[in-house]
Symmetry: C2
């Protein structure tokens, strides 16, 4: 079996973390100067690993194996959240490079190909999953034309020109080339840690439905407007929150989560009855039926609040991502490799967060592997994973890749 | 009885509204350039009305009668809310000037004194009731030193220097000089209009208790954190709102109003469980006992939420203003004058909004008169009152003043 080099792997991760270092983490928005520098460094590392590497027209770094046998695509993303962690995304990309090197160094892997990708802008500086969507042909030119950086307002076209890739073609997936796609990632939650496991074999990525609920009443003076004639949009909002939380608690499946992460009152002043309000309600579940059931209930409750008055209540779905199932044979390969290197210390689990794998899964059999996040922390510079777990995850990843390519 | 000149009254109001005109209303924050210009114009109008007028060291415009007999103080404020109305405050000041003129022109009023004041900053550009509080000796120098404009951040000291009054003494009330204080104002609500009345004789000004309720949970990823282990500060907030609204509906007196006008989640992002949240709860009632009863219940409910967990909940009273009762003999005088000029078209009513009269009432017998607000609108440039109602109110005000001074 291919043997990964833990020192080389951690060394590359530490070097990559120097690009945009912030405290113990990294600030590296996609297509920022420091992000472009990190992509050029990735091209060098991929080239040294024996791959044909380049940055494509959307900023994806893609390294292709020169082998002619069966091939797997591996990757994740190297852009970060603002003041984010050093491993979120980066680890999956460097795993790919390390596995490619381990394959190159193992005569038993001769002819087996590992392609590696760092997908541009997974974290949403310019849009949602720009790089992986571009790769599967789901990111139209018109969307690039409109995209601007949430960090500094730079148009995406201008950022791509600055990166020197405005004239480079956008790489497109060739499904015939690949057995499938594998992505490793930190868990970003605390399930592995609290379960005392070191490897998570991901069963699927939850679907996410996002709703914007708007409340329209009548703005008025908080001292001179008697209670019976008020149309307080804030009261309508908090009452609907109460109703939704109560119903959802009854209806939730074992893995359902829902969140009202954003609330805005207008004008949000202590002495003014809010005339308008809105909130964002997000629902996540691995089962499409459960998502649809909860979505229907949210709409029913909003309609009932609207009918009851005194405020108008409207609900609209602002985005929806369907759940993704991981490929069963790939999960089996991860199980077996995990049991060899960490017997009894692995578990199957869904991913509550979104990943490029859900995009790739539309075109290729796909699967994911998790390593523990210390304290469940992510999207923060303090995010971390024990070096032993990082190395273990990479070895499991390499073994499973070899098994899949030989299978 | 002194006879007011409706044309002169409305003319002065229209002229004053030119200072900082915005749409059909006025934008005149206290001690802005345009506000200072309007104060200089008020000094002129007061001087023409026979008063000794000046701007004092806090920006109050004060015109003193040269008479030696019994004296009444009248006034309100001429600063406005941002993009506010043309009558809120201004009407009460110009009523004072017009009544002073009517007294001067009526031989039967010889010797009776009308002092007129435009209190600085009633609307809170630099603080709360700065001018009237200064006049009763309740605005320490240290508070002026710290005060800055909410409009543009200008320190109050700097604004006073620009107005040329930094070296002017701050006028202080002489309780021996006055029989009492009268203030006229637009209602700012819709009770007179819906009751088809033209005059409101104010019985008192409601007390206002303001509470800041803070919720502390744990910020986390909205996808990877299972419901049972969440500490969602937003859920804690909306649930407590629901509980408070339910209890307060049962406990409220006939004139109680309460408002959650401000809600803030932190970080207020769709995919992040809010780690912290706060809201402002305001309670108004004319009865101190009812205010205390509701305040105790709010504290009890917050403590119960804190004890129940999973979030910590704390509540602190950030301000409290006790209810003010209007002086009975002054109310009787308003009743009688109103019944003469608008028989059957007046009513007694509390003020749900705060006014300078509640400050003056600490030192002088005080009372207030309301005229209708069209559609109940105030704190908006579309605020208005029928000219006939403006003139009627001023005549009632003048009659009552004469009766009080002769009584």
């Amino acid at each position: 079996m291919p043997k990964i080099d833990a020192k080389r792997l951690i060394g590359d991760l530490r070097k990559l973390a120097e690009f945009g270092r912030y405290e113990t983490g990294v600030h590296r928005p996609c297509l920022s100067d420091i992000d472009i520098a990190s992509r050029r460094w990735l091209v060098e590392r991929m080239t040294e690993a024996g791959l044909d590497a380049h940055i494509d027209g959307i900023g994806n770094v893609i390294g292709r194996a020169r082998t002619s046998g069966p091939c797997l695509l591996m990757g994740s993303h190297t852009d970060t959240q603002p003041r984010g962690g050093w491993l979120d995304g980066a680890m999956g990309v460097v795993y790919g490079i390390e596995v490619a090197r381990a394959f190159r160094d193992d005569p038993a892997c001769k002819g087996l190909g590992i392609d590696v990708a760092s997908w541009a802008d997974e974290e949403g500086n310019f849009g949602s999953f720009c790089g992986s969507r571009s790769f599967i042909g789901d990111f139209p030119d018109a969307e690039i034309d409109k995209a601007v950086s949430r960090e500094d307002g730079t148009p995406m076209r201008q950022a791509l020109a600055k990166a020197g890739v405005a004239q480079v073609a956008r790489a497109q997936v060739d499904p015939k080339r690949y057995r499938g796609y594998l992505e490793a990632h930190i868990e970003q939650g605390g399930k592995l840690e609290t379960s005392r496991k070191r490897i998570g074999v991901v069963t699927g990525i939850v679907g996410i439905y996002l709703f914007r609920v708007s409340f329209s009443g009548q703005q008025n003076h908080a001292g001179t407007t008697p209670m019976p004639i008020r149309k307080d949009a804030g009261v309508a909002l908090t009452e609907l929150c109460h109703t939704i939380h109560g119903r959802f608690r009854q209806m939730a499946g074992p893995l359902t989560v829902w969140t009202v992460g954003q609330i805005q009152l207008d004008p949000n002043m202590p002495s003014i009855i809010p005339g308008r309000a809105h909130m964002l309600l997000q629902i996540r579940d691995p089962e499409p039926d459960k998502l649809d059931e909860l979505a229907a209930e949210a709409k029913r409750l909003a309609a009932a609040a609207d009918a009851a008055g005194p405020c108008r209540v409207s609900i609209e779905q602002s985005s929806h991502t369907l759940p993704t199932k991981c490929h069963p044979a790939f999960m089996d390969a991860f199980d077996k490799a995990a049991e060899i290197h960490a017997p009894g210390s692995w578990m199957r689990m869904p991913s509550g967060a979104g990943h490029d794998a859900q995009i790739l899964a539309k075109k290729l059999p796909s699967a994911m592997l998790f390593v523990p996040s210390i304290g469940g922390v992510s999207h923060h510079f303090s995010e971390d994973t024990a070096e032993g777990d990082i190395a273990l995850g990479c070895q499991v990843f390499a073994d499973a890749a070899a098994a899949i390519l030989r299978g």
